[in-house]
């Protein structure tokens, strides 16, 4: 199979929330090294609440993303609220009205999410933010999309992990940790790490359903 029906994909967001909640302590620990140590608990709070609202409802993937976006934008705040809130809002817009999700639609969704993040933040690759994960992951998926999900998703996940790990050697140039200068080097960026979790979980949920 090379495409999935969009209906009934609400659980994809629930699975995503499960991953975020399971990694709450790890994300907070990473954040604590150069940030304020609340990334895990804020993310878990937002994703967890969204999952509760999606649970048991028959939803398309974009409807699930919209619920998540509303919770993040309306209740979470911080910088992650608007950044991931707009990412999922724009991803949902790219999926709106599609009855099936094929690699082309998924690529368009990723691209829209990236543009959503870039619209509100102004980080570039190399600034030690979630952009360092998102940009190479989106590019890797697009490059392999002709070969189908089975090839493009593992490529996206690998690129996301590589992007996440690249933040270890970077000095933060934006956001709260940027005030630490050289001291921010040597530690993962919490946003890049959570973004990798999100992309990995989304990708694996799709692969699982393709069988």
């Amino acid at each position: 199979m090379t495409a999935l029906p969009n209906v009934g994909l609400g659980p994809v967001i629930e699975e995503l929330a499960e991953v975020i909640v399971a990694n709450k302590a790890w994300l907070s620990e990473i954040d604590g090294k150069i940030g304020d140590g609340d990334h895990g608990s804020n993310m878990a709070k937002g994703f967890g609440r969204a999952a509760e609202r999606i649970h048991g409802q028959d939803m398309t993937l974009d409807a699930g993303m919209l619920v998540l976006s509303e919770v993040l934008m309306g209740e979470i705040g911080g910088s992650m609220g608007p950044l991931y809130g707009l990412m999922f809002e724009d991803m949902a817009a790219a999926l709106a009205g599609k009855s099936v999700i094929d690699t082309q639609t998924f690529a368009a969704m990723l691209q829209a999410g990236l543009e959503g993040v870039q619209g509100v933040g102004n980080a570039q690759v190399g600034d030690k933010t979630l952009i360092d994960t998102l940009v190479p992951a989106v590019a890797a998926f697009k490059a392999q999309s002709a070969a189908g999900f089975a090839v493009a998703i593992p490529a996206m996940i690998a690129a996301a992990e590589q992007g996440r790990d690249s933040t270890i050697d970077l000095v933060a140039r934006i956001g709260r940790s940027s005030r630490l200068g050289e001291r921010s080097r040597g530690v993962l960026d919490a946003g890049a790490t959570s973004c990798c979790l999100i992309l990995t979980s989304l990708g694996q949920s799709i692969l699982k359903r393709l069988g």
Partner: protein, 683 residues
């Protein structure tokens, strides 16, 4: 899922103790430390135990006689005599040097030791009084002080025309030059012809100002004179011929040109009312009194000075020190038997918190605040995270909306009330509020004259407040944003706009609130808020990290002897870590960085805020404030007002920040406009 990185296996934990140490970890630890020269940290790793355990092993090993430490006999005598003098006379410190020491005279070597002691104690902003004599001059000639600012050296007595190189003028001016300090002479003779002349002279403005500065001395460095015929006190003309026998029979020595008995009591004779300079009562009020004196002829005089409490730091030599102790009938008491060292307490895994469910902490705090301050603030229907002033909205008045993450209490609701903000919005802990409550707050207090958002410069706050401002603009409400950037540690001055907004926010809230209360225009209120922010400088430091209610873990690691400089207000680490220093050194560090940027002219006025980051004892804030005020005074800056307390906290972080608002006429006037709120009431 990625694995948690950096989780070191408990390596070494099962390591066996090498056979030659038997089963004795104390012996093993001692060997590694004393023979192999390893650090305690490396030993901990090798033995597979914690560093505190290694420390305890080493202490145990000494207590049980496994390790005995031998000190070279003359060094040991110096140490043991110094310790006995310190304990017996309750001194702050005591340094004892060997009596015999090669080519150099005892006075030269005492001068060298005195110079080292003085350099160690001197601080920027100090006023140092100085007496005269051979030893004092020797100190002035040998001192190699650290780089100090705003130091004054004041002569402790008037001058003399005696034909000696170590006159009061010479000692004070040479020492001032060596310390790169301002020299304050006493423009009068030390000994005048009659009490009437003294009384007359004391009325002279110049002299009374000089004596006023002398009375402000933080420390004094002095010699101690015997009363033998060739002593300094005779050679410099403080005792006229015949007077010693007639009036000063009970005196055994002299300090600051005054006479004391063997028991340390003042001996008042005819010279008393003819002497211009520090008297013995004033001397005792100087916080640190360093005496440098040695030689067997001075034993009685030094002992008298110690008994009288005129000295609290003594520099002397072994023979003199032993002489003093013997004359005092001091016998070395046997050393206390070694006691069993305390077992280290069990390691903690969580910080204690007085909360219910962590996720309810912010809402429950706000409910409590609304009840406690119901005469000032009220909730806004439909938004649990918005607090408005009871008197808001006021038609025609610019509305001030402040906000940010929770965890900074009493910020932000503590600054809502007449003359301050009209509304406050809080987010989750250390996270900006989302746009919706900001919008609700704006609508609730809009008085049709425009709204100003004031918040600290954090990317989340900027995004969320900007989104709210866009929505309000679409509704036809004019919103301006003033983003505070007072934290000078967070970015170099060239990029001031990248700095964080921290405790200095309070000043910007106050100025903007006052401008709005005076019904100034939106443009004027905005300009004044920006002006206040541009003239506010903050720098903080932490002794211990804070911890979030959710994680109950310290938000960063800080070593047992470390402090973190330039911390923010979210538990994010600071810009530099260094060893813990004294309150005064920390106050100097914070203030000097601020003064470096502030470019204040002498006579300028400032407002101060010593802010608790959550859990520093109030005592310690006042200790720091005291030092900051001393330094500002020495710099010639006037302090308009000082706020001390928890104004802008960071949960339970142990630390404080110093904020300085560089006032001008306009800011001063607005600072004085009355305001009333839960955390700040003026007028």
């Amino acid at each position: 899922m990625p694995l948690r990185p950096g989780n070191r296996a408990a390596e070494g934990g099962d390591d066996l103790i090498p056979l030659r140490f038997g089963d004795d970890p104390l012996l093993w630890a001692s060997w590694l430390y004393y023979e192999e020269g390893m650090t305690q940290g490396d030993i901990a790793e090798q033995m597979g135990v914690s560093r505190p355990s290694v420390n305890a092993y080493l202490a145990d090993a000494r207590a049980r006689g496994i390790v005995s430490i031998e000190i070279a006999p003359d060094r040991f005598r110096s140490l043991s005599i110094a310790k006995a003098l310190r304990d017996h006379f309750n001194l702050q410190d005591c340094l004892v040097i060997p009596t015999e020491g090669g080519e150099r005279s005892l006075i030269a070597r005492l001068g060298d030791a005195g110079a080292r002691v003085l350099s160690r104690f001197m601080r920027s902003g100090d006023t140092l009084a100085v007496t005269w004599g051979r030893t004092v001059l020797s100190i002035a000639d040998q001192i190699q002080p650290p780089i100090l600012q705003d130091v004054r050296v004041v002569q402790a007595t008037g001058g003399t025309t005696a034909k000696i190189p170590w006159t009061p003028e010479a000692c004070a001016s040479r020492l001032a030059k060596a310390l790169n300090a301002r020299a304050i002479p006493i423009s009068a003779p030390a000994i005048v012809s009659s009490p009437e002349v003294r009384a007359l002279l004391m009325q002279e403005a110049v002299l009374s100002e000089q004596l006023g500065m002398l009375a402000e001395a933080d420390r004094i460095v002095m010699g101690i004179s015997s009363l033998r015929p060739e002593s300094t006190i005779h050679s410099s003309g403080f005792l006229e011929g015949g007077m010693q026998h007639a009036h000063y029979q009970d005196a055994v020595g002299s300090i600051v040109g005054r006479f004391i008995s063997a028991r340390g009591e003042p001996v008042i004779g005819p010279m008393h009312d003819r002497t211009i300079g520090l008297d013995l009562d004033q001397l005792r009020r100087v916080p640190q009194r360093i005496a440098v004196a040695g030689g067997m002829d001075k034993v009685a005089a030094i002992l008298a000075a110690l008994r009288g409490g005129y000295v609290n730091v003594l520099v002397t030599d072994i023979a003199t020190g032993r002489g003093i102790l013997t004359a005092e009938g001091y016998r070395d008491t046997p050393r206390r038997p070694p006691s069993e060292p305390d077992r280290p307490p069990r390691a903690r895994t969580h910080v204690k918190k007085l909360i219910n469910a962590p996720q309810d902490a912010v809402d429950e705090t706000l409910k409590g605040a609304l009840l406690a301050h119901e005469h000032l603030i009220a909730p806004v229907a439909g938004s649990s995270r918005v607090v408005r002033a009871l008197d808001a909205p006021r038609q025609g008045k610019v509305a001030i909306v402040v906000g940010g993450g929770a965890g900074h209490e009493p910020a932000f609701w503590g600054y809502v009330g007449p003359g301050l903000a009209d509304a406050a919005v809080v987010g989750n802990i250390f996270a900006s509020p989302p746009p919706d409550p900001i919008i609700a707050a704006t609508r609730a207090v809009n008085g049709q004259a425009g709204v100003i958002y004031i918040y600290g410069n954090f990317s989340g706050d900027v995004m969320n407040f900007d989104m709210a401002a866009e929505v309000m603009a679409a509704e036809g409400v004019e919103v301006r944003s003033v983003i505070t950037t007072d934290d000078i540690a967070s970015s170099p001055r060239e990029t001031r706009s990248a700095r964080r907004g921290v405790a200095g926010n309070i000043f910007t809230f106050k100025i903007a609130g006052a401008a709005a209360a005076r019904m100034m225009s939106l443009d004027a209120c905005e300009a004044l808020a920006r002006h206040a922010n541009a003239r506010t400088y903050t720098m903080g430091l932490a002794l211990e990290p804070g911890s979030l209610p959710e994680t109950r873990q310290p938000s960063f690691d800080l070593g047992p002897e470390d402090m973190e400089i330039g911390v923010g207000v979210h538990g994010e680490p600071g810009v530099e870590r260094r060893g813990l220093a004294s309150a005064d050194a920390c106050a100097d560090l914070l203030l000097e960085r601020i003064l470096e940027e502030m470019h204040a002219a002498e006579g300028d006025e400032v407002a101060l805020l010593i802010n608790s980051l959550g859990s520093i004892p109030t005592m310690e804030m006042y200790i720091v404030l005291r030092r900051v005020r001393q330094r500002l005074k020495a710099r010639g800056l006037r302090v308009h007002s000082s706020l001390v307390g928890p104004y802008y906290t960071s949960l339970d972080m142990a630390g404080l920040s110093l904020s300085v608002l560089h006032l001008d006429k306009e800011l001063k006037e607005l600072l004085e406009v009355p305001c009333r709120s839960a955390a700040l009431t003026i007028g």
